[in-house]
């Protein structure tokens, strides 16, 4: 449904005025609050300018994250398939090799 523009404007003006009035109500900011902030800062300890190499590396890590994830999925799938094939190959060897089977079944 379409609403008349002047209705929308009136409502917007009233709501905006209400919203702005929230910012005008001042909250008491005492020195205790400031001291708490500084205490938290001291707990963190000194902060230092990061070196260019470290910044580059952290950016690179996030850029490579999707590629790393895709690679992990691919490798996982490959390992899963290889394990499957290995089981079949071992079973095949056991069945087709009577000597080995004999040794395995009756070692004594």
């Amino acid at each position: 449904m379409k609403y008349p523009k002047e209705h929308m404007d009136r409502l917007k003006d009233a709501l905006s005025a209400t919203y702005r009035s929230k910012a005008e109500t001042t909250l008491p900011v005492d020195s205790q609050w400031r001291q708490n902030v500084i205490r938290s800062i001291r707990r963190i300890g000194p902060t230092r300018k990061e070196t260019g190499h470290r910044l580059d590396f952290s950016n690179l890590v996030w850029k490579l994250a999707p590629a790393a994830l895709a690679l992990m999925i691919l490798l996982g799938a490959m390992i899963f398939r290889i394990e499957d094939t290995l089981d079949y190959q071992l079973a095949g060897l056991m069945v087709n090799d009577p000597v080995q089977t004999y040794i395995t079944i009756e070692p004594l």
């Binding site: 009136r10 919203y19 929230k22 910012a23 909250l27 963190i44 902060t47 230092r48 300018k49 990061e50």
Partner: protein, 201 residues
């Protein structure tokens, strides 16, 4: 607009902090606490404002090493304040702690009279602050955290798309699309009852 002298002072203070003088950060807290509170107060409930403002300064300190100084410290800090408020709402919505109440009859009456052509009545209604603020809260609570922030910045504060994009760290295109959709959602919420009544007639 930031005073250039303030900018130089801030740069010196920041350099001092990055050299290991943690106590110098108190100068920045003292200087910008009112500015941060004026932002935080608009976006979150007053009961949470002190805690959120605290988080803003802690985040600012933690990110100080990455401050490039291009846009000025005040502008940079404003962005952190807005994003901290956004994170507050994301957390609240995720934990379903936001009260989702429908607008009451008194609220509907306030909307009806505010948009009416009767200017005297409209003036009286717009001066009824309690209803106005309840309508605003109830409507905003029904939006998502993203829509809420965009509506507050663009629709209610009158920020340009570029300014909102800078504060939230989103692209301008994202802000434009979201502002358009969020405004439509807000109108639907505000006029839902009116539409229903018209449909029943």
């Amino acid at each position: 607009m930031q005073n250039p002298i303030d900018g130089v002072e801030d740069t010196d203070t920041i350099r001092n902090i990055l050299e290991g003088n943690v106590n110098a950060f108190e100068r920045l807290v003292e200087k910008y606490q009112n500015h941060v509170f004026s932002i935080v107060r608009k976006h979150v409930p007053s009961t949470q404002a002190h805690e959120i403002a605290h988080d803003v300064f802690v985040r600012a300190y933690q990110g100080l090493a990455g401050f490039s100084g291009k846009s000025g410290f005040k502008q940079w800090l404003s962005g952190i304040a807005v994003r901290t408020c956004y994170d507050f709402w994301r957390r609240k919505y995720r934990m379903r702690e936001v009260p989702m109440s429908e607008l009451s009859d008194a609220h509907r009456e306030w909307i009806e009279n505010t948009v009416s052509d009767d200017s005297e009545n409209a003036h009286v209604m717009s001066s009824r602050q309690r209803e106005a603020s309840e309508v605003l809260e109830a409507a905003l609570n029904q939006l998502s955290a993203e829509d809420r922030m965009v509506i507050e910045l663009v629709y209610l504060e009158g920020c340009t798309h570029k300014e909102a994009a800078g504060l939230l760290g989103w692209s301008i295109a994202n802000i434009k699309i979201r502002a358009f959709r969020a405004r439509n959602k807000l109108h639907k919420i505000l006029f839902k009852e009116k539409n229903r009544q018209q449909g029943e007639r």
